[in-house]
Structure formats: C-alpha cells, structure tokens
C-alpha cells in the first residue's frame, strides 16, 4: 500500500504501537548490531527462538543501545511487568535470565536497569506514545545509571528501541512525519531556514554549517542535483555511523528525502564502506520498504516529487571518506581527491551540484524538523549546537557509543559516563578526531566538547572517535601508528603528503627503535608544518596533527626515547624491560605459567624474577599479575 496522507501514516504508526510498547505476551528485544553479534548475541537469539517455540514469547531484533561493553544486551517486557534491560546475556545464561524475569527476581548481576522512557522524542510530538506506564519493580532506572544519565539521544533516538528492519515501528516512533511536513511546504527554502537556524553542523568532522551547504546547492546551476550520504566512516576507532545504519536506517533515508526536497535534488547515493556488510543489508531492506510505501522513489506521497537512492560500496580506501574522492569512487574511478577551490556543493558528482553529509548529520534532520530549530539550538554551546555521538573506547571501563550535548566537558564523558580508566590505571590522554586529530592530556580534561575549543587545543571533533589512553600507552608510538596508517592510505598524488608522511614515519620509526638522534624533534616539527600546509586534501592537510599534538603535550616522551633510549610506557621493544618487584610479588606463579617463553623463574610463594635473555616483551605477565608486581623499567 502507498501512503498518501498524514492520516495514512498515523494509522500505520498506531497499528505498530503495541508491537513496540504493549505486546500481548512476553517480548524479548535482542541487540543484534555488529557489537552484539561479536559478543555472542546470535547464539543467544537462536536459543531464544528455540525456546519461544514451546514457551510462546516474542523474539525481536534491536539495534545497538550504546553500552557495547555489556553486550549481549536483551530487554524484556511483559504485560504488567517492568521493562528490564539485561546485560551480558550469552547463550548459556539466557534461560536463567528469562526465568528470573518471569519470577520477578531482579539480580543486579544481570540487570542493567529498568527502561523507564522507551518512548520516542518525535513520537510524542505526533501523539504516538506508549500509553499506560509500567510497574516499577524497585529496579534502578536505566536512564539514571552513570553511563546513560548524562546522555541525550537525538541521532541515536531509535537505536536499541526498535526493530531496525521494521518501517512500521519507525513510523510508530514518529518517523516520516518530518517528510510529510517538508513535502507539504510550498517553499523548500523554508526548510533550509529551519536547518540553518538550528545550528546543525556537519557531523563527519568538518563541522560545516549544514543549512549553508544546502542553500548553496539550492542555488547552484546544474541538473540533476545530488544528495550523498557519506557512510565511509574510515576513522579507526569510530563506529557511530555503523550503529545508526544498523539500528535506524530509516532516519538516514528520511533525512535524505528532506534534504533532496529542500535542495531540488532527484538522485541520492549512500556510500557505505564494505567493512560494514550488515549496514548494507539494513539499508537495502529499508530502501525497499520505503519505496513500497511510496515514501521514496517516484511521486513521493503523491506530491509529484521524485527522489531515488542508490547504494554504493567502498572497497577499503580511507581517502574515499574525503568528499571529492568519494564522488570519484561513486563514478567508478580511483578515489583520488582534487583541490577544492571549487566546492563539491557546486561541482561534485559528475561536476553537478552535490550535497554530501555524514550519516549522523542526516539522522539529526528529521528531529530538527519535528522538534524545531529552537529546540535543537537549546542544546550545546554558542557555536556548536545540538548533541554529538562519540565512540568512547580504549582503556576505559564503560566502552560504547554515547550521545551527549555539545559543551559537555571531556572529564565528565570519561569519568562519569565512561566510568574511568580500566583496571584503575592512570589516565594519560584522550585521542579525538581520528588520524586528523590529536591527543589531549589530563590538564585539558575540562575542555567542553565543541568544534572550536577542541581545534584550539590542537585536536579536533572529527567524526566522534574518542580513544582513551592510559599510562601503558606510548605517545610516540601513537604518533607513529597514525602516520603508518596515513602512509598506507595516502592516494599518492601530491608530494607533501606522499613523501612528507613517509619521512615523518621514518623518523618516528627510528625513534621508537631507539635510533633517534639529536635534531629529530626539530626536523619533525619542520616537516609537519610542510605536510599540513601544502597537501592537496585534508588527509595530508591534517596528517601532522597527531605528531604535533603529542610533541606539544608529551615532549618528554620524545626526549626520553631519543636521549635516554627509554620507553617508559613499556611499548617500544628494546627500550624497556619488565622486572618483578620483590616487595609486591607473592610467588603465585600465574605469570610463570602464562609466559610463552618460560622466562619467569622462582620458588613457589617466594618472589619471582624475569630472565631478560628469554623475555620477548609480550606483556602477558604485566597484564596478568593481580598484585601490580610486574614493573616497567
């Protein structure tokens, strides 16, 4: 059936409300995004399906609700019962957890929290709400646990709260009402005004004002105009876009249709990196569903507006996340960037006006339309409005995806939301902005996340990767790591990037191997300026940032590597050794048993020692010791 009116849409939504909030029997929503699956959710799901055959409960899929550290996550709801999210429900624990839920036994070991607010922020606007509130059960609210209490979900509003393969559930949560609002608007320029007033800026890293980009495209000459979604997400450590595509693909489609109408485009592309096969599957399914309902394709909702979306896959090239390279790739060519004195918004795909925005930017659009520009602008700082999704990963306790209002201090994200450093080790730095970003030390932890503030400190917002590093991370090695990555990914066109990165890497590799010399730091600084200043595109143009920021804040580590030939973090092989502190060692022999080279010796219950000739510096002893007796010298 094709949806032609707002009433049709409302009817579809109302029918799916019960599926979402008031199922007739027990319902199990299993987190089936890539992180859930990697943690074992598929096996749990298969078991759940087998059990449901005899026991008659409903099994459904959900996207990633963000707390990836605790996957597999399963939330259960049942008539008259509280709605509870359970954590780490691997296959072997499923039956017990189910039984406990049914019996009303809520053990803090398996319960993450009670989902008090499953409703959607947009659903409320159109009158699609859960209805009856559920019972309490005396269980702490999910929304109040430290991981969630400082978050506010706009881009991630549906992830984990619905079945991503169900367009009906998307509609029941207020989806596609924004599309109706916009396509009913006689002057598409007004839509652009709303987006501009909201202050939405590109979430892929550039932070360019979205409304301004759309306005330029609207007035640029050339047909057909194009809408492109950049789902290449190449920054290592960032997976926000993957989550949105796997958990709520329709939010991106709706955003793109709205953008297409505002700008006057008739063709759209979603460029997805091939490392995200599940995202591609979800998108293909979502496009088919939207087309069937007449919400995409020809004559959308009977308005006469045509807009088609094609999915194109990447093939393993980080540089194709750069807008000009991405468009070359869409044309079936090698992804080499070009100079941008003429912007892609005027001449992009096939030299036609093209609006390229990131997944997260598109996902925000329907919320901006339905809740209003003023509402969106009420979040954040003066220049950075709204919220931002971060992938909080690395040496942190609560790893996962978090969406916080712009302006939240880094310290709160890392310690309150993130729960602090893993194994209670010492915080050293947080890396943001991927290979284009930088590392910020403890002294800057009160900086609020804001485009300008992060750049001023020598890092950048980037796409949202936030990698936490502790005392065991060598900052020189981190700079070397990013340059190694960029050397492989450089397209090779321009000399500063191709040759400059190679030389920077060579110097850093030597420093990490104990071959650093006097003058290296000055040479790095000089080279860094050249590479950043003269490269053709942003890959080379920001390539020096990791080096420059680590030199700025962790210069002592460089000095130590070069002059003392020492790596105090215990990473660069040959520049440190492991030794057992006899005062702390209890002689438990755990390290001796685990050592792959039998390098640990000693009598039982007496302090042990490491034979340096046999030690291969694999770190297993350091990681296994429960008494912190293995030290880095």
């Amino acid at each position: 059936m094709r949806i032609k009116s707002r009433e049709d849409l409302l009817a579809v939504g109302k029918k799916a409300l019960d599926q979402l909030y008031n199922p007739p029997v027990l319902k199990m929503n299993i987190g089936m995004a890539s992180c859930g699956i990697a943690a074992g959710a598929r096996a749990s799901r298969e078991k759940a399906l087998r059990l449901s055959e005899s026991e008659g409960f409903i099994v459904s899929d959900a996207g990633c609700i963000g707390f990836c550290e605790q996957e597999p996550l399963i939330d259960m709801l049942s008539p008259g019962m509280p709605r509870v999210m359970f954590k780490q429900v691997t296959e072997d624990r499923l039956e017990d957890v189910l039984e406990a839920y049914r019996a009303g036994r809520f053990d803090h070991k398996s319960v993450l929290g009670r989902m008090k607010h499953p409703e959607s922020i947009i659903g409320e606007v159109v009158g699609l709400t859960p209805g009856a509130s559920q019972s309490n059960g005396g269980i702490p609210e999910l929304e109040s646990i430290p991981f969630y209490s400082k978050q506010y979900k706009i881009a991630l509003r549906n992830c984990g709260y619905m079945d991503p393969a169900s367009i009906d559930q998307y509609i029941a949560r207020g989806g596609y009402f924004g599309l109706f609002e916009c396509l009913g608007e006689k002057d598409p320029g007004r839509i652009i005004d709303i987006v501009t007033a909201s202050g939405l800026r590109g979430r892929g890293g550039g932070g360019f004002p979205t409304g301004r980009k759309w306005a330029t495209a609207r007035h640029a000459p050339g047909e057909p105009k194009n809408i492109i979604c950049n789902a290449d997400e190449g920054d290592p450590g960032a997976y926000m876009d993957r989550s949105v595509l796997e958990g709520d693909p329709h939010s991106v489609l709706e955003g793109m249709v709205i953008g297409a109408y505002a700008v006057g485009a008739s063709q759209g592309f979603i460029y997805v990196r091939n490392e995200y096969p599940l995202a591609v599957v979800r998108l293909v399914g979502a496009i088919k569903q939207a087309e069937r309902y007449g919400l995409l394709g020809d004559n959308i909702i009977g308005s006469g507006f045509n807009f088609h979306i094609k999915i194109s896959t990447g093939a393993g090239a980080f540089v194709c996340g750069e807008s000009t390279a991405l468009m070359r790739s869409l044309e079936g060519r090698v992804g080499r960037p070009r100079a941008k004195y003429i912007h892609t918004v005027e001449k992009g795909y096939h030299n036609l006006p093209s609006v390229l925005n990131n997944v997260e930017t598109w996902a925000n659009v329907p919320a901006v339309i339905m809740k209003g520009a003023e509402w969106y602008a009420s979040f954040g700082t003066e220049k950075s409005k709204g919220t931002k999704v971060f992938s909080l990963v690395g040496k942190i306790k609560n790893t996962g995806l978090v969406e916080v209002p712009m302006g939240t201090p880094l310290r709160e994200i890392i310690y309150d939301v993130g729960g602090g450093i893993l194994k209670n080790r010492k915080f050293k730095a947080v890396q943001t902005g991927g290979p284009s970003g930088g590392c910020l030390p403890e002294s800057l932890m009160d900086i609020p996340v804001d485009y300008e503030r992060l750049s001023a400190a020598g890092s950048m917002m980037g796409s949202g990767g936030m990698i936490v590093m502790d005392q065991d991370t060598c900052m020189v090695d981190v700079a070397r790591y990013f340059l190694q990555f960029l050397e492989e990914e450089s397209c090779g066109q321009c000399v500063p990037c191709r040759e400059g990165i190679k030389q920077l890497l060579r110097i850093l590799t030597d420093i990490c191997a104990g071959k650093g010399k006097d003058g290296d730091i000055e040479l790095l600084e000089e080279l860094a300026l050249t590479v950043n200043g003269l490269s053709l595109c942003a890959l080379g143009g920001t390539a020096s940032n990791p080096v420059m920021s680590t030199l700025r804040y962790f210069r002592d580590e460089y000095v130590s590597h070069i002059y003392d030939k020492k790596c105090r973090a215990g990473v660069c092989k040959g520049l440190f050794s492991y030794a057992i502190n006899p005062d702390k060692c209890t002689g438990c022999r755990l390290c001796a048993i685990k050592c792959p080279n039998e390098a640990v010796g000693g009598e039982k219950k007496k302090p042990h020692s490491i034979d340096q000739d046999k030690c291969i510096q694999c770190r297993i002893c350091y990681e296994s010791c429960k008494f912190d007796a293995v030290e880095i010298k």
Partner: protein
C-alpha cells in the same frame, strides 16, 4: 605478465572462469561502468580473488581499458590479484584495538602461521590480512575470520580459534 607472476608466488592454480556467471554479474549491475567497483567486489566474492581472465573479459564487455581496472584493483585495499586462502583471517588494527594490544596478536599470528600480513599459507588454508577498523571498537581487539567476528581476542586464544577452520 604481471598477473601470471602473482600466481607463481603461491603455486595455486588460477580459477576456472565461467563467463556466463560473469555475464550475470555484469547484468545485475546494469553493465554500467560506474558500478565497476561493485562488479569487482562481486567477482572477488565468487572467486575469492580477481582472476586476470575475468578482468580482461570485463574490460572488453564494459569497454573500459584494462589499465583502469588494474588501477582500481590495486588502489582499493580489499582486492587481491592473487588467489587467497580458504579462510581469510583479518586482524583489526584500528586505534582502539591497537591500544588494547592488536599488534601483539598480529605478531603471534604471523609466527603461528609462518606468513606475514598480506600472505597466504602454502596449503592455502589461511590468508592473513589486516584491516583498519571493522567497527567493533568497544570489544577490541577484534579479529574477523571469514564473516565471523571474534571479540576481546588475545594471543592465547587465537591458536584455539584457528583450529576450528580447515
């Protein structure tokens, strides 16, 4: 010939091409040169690498110079011009996994399998590759074997996991 050289390295026999299958793949993608990258991906899914005769055929059918196809096959990291092993072991070296010790897993695997990253074992059982981020950053270090993702890996467990793959 550059591509014949490649197969000499592994001693593997080049794939037998069924041109009707290639025709189907080309037709699925509407014979559009813009879909070249996706076409090559489909070919690699079928043959586990990009056989030279297949590339020559595509060049002729789509009227694209072979040199341009070679350019694409060598620019994009996922493509292989050499036959690959039955099982593709892909170690994630993304930042989050790196910080959690992915390099050590790579060293351990290289030692265990006797090959370097990018190479294939003599018995064609395993190809070792590296990838920069598969998006499982919270559960790193992550290793993909074929289409299964193993989370929270460490060198200890790797050997055990590999045993299940023939």
């Amino acid at each position: 010939m550059f591509l014949a050289q490649a197969t000499l390295n592994t001693g593997a026999i080049a794939a037998d091409i069924d041109y009707r299958v290639l025709d189907d793949l080309i037709e699925d993608l509407k014979g559009d040169p813009e879909n070249l990258i996706m076409l090559l991906q489909a070919v690699q899914r079928k043959y586990n690498y990009l056989p030279e005769p297949a590339l020559e055929y595509i060049s002729a059918k789509l009227t694209i110079p072979l040199s341009r196809i070679y350019g694409i096959a060598t620019f994009y990291a996922m493509f292989s011009l050499e036959p690959r092993g039955k099982n593709i072991v892909s170690i994630c070296l993304g930042t989050a996994c790196h910080v959690r010790g992915a390099e050590r897993i790579k060293e351990h695997l290289e030692k265990h399998l006797g090959i370097g990253a990018g190479q294939t074992t003599q018995d064609m059982r395993f190809t070792l590759e590296t990838v920069r981020c598969i998006g499982c950053c919270s559960l790193g270090p992550a290793v993909n074997i074929n289409d299964k993702t193993f989370a929270r890996m460490d060198p200890d467990r790797m050997a055990g996991v590999l045993k299940d793959y023939e």
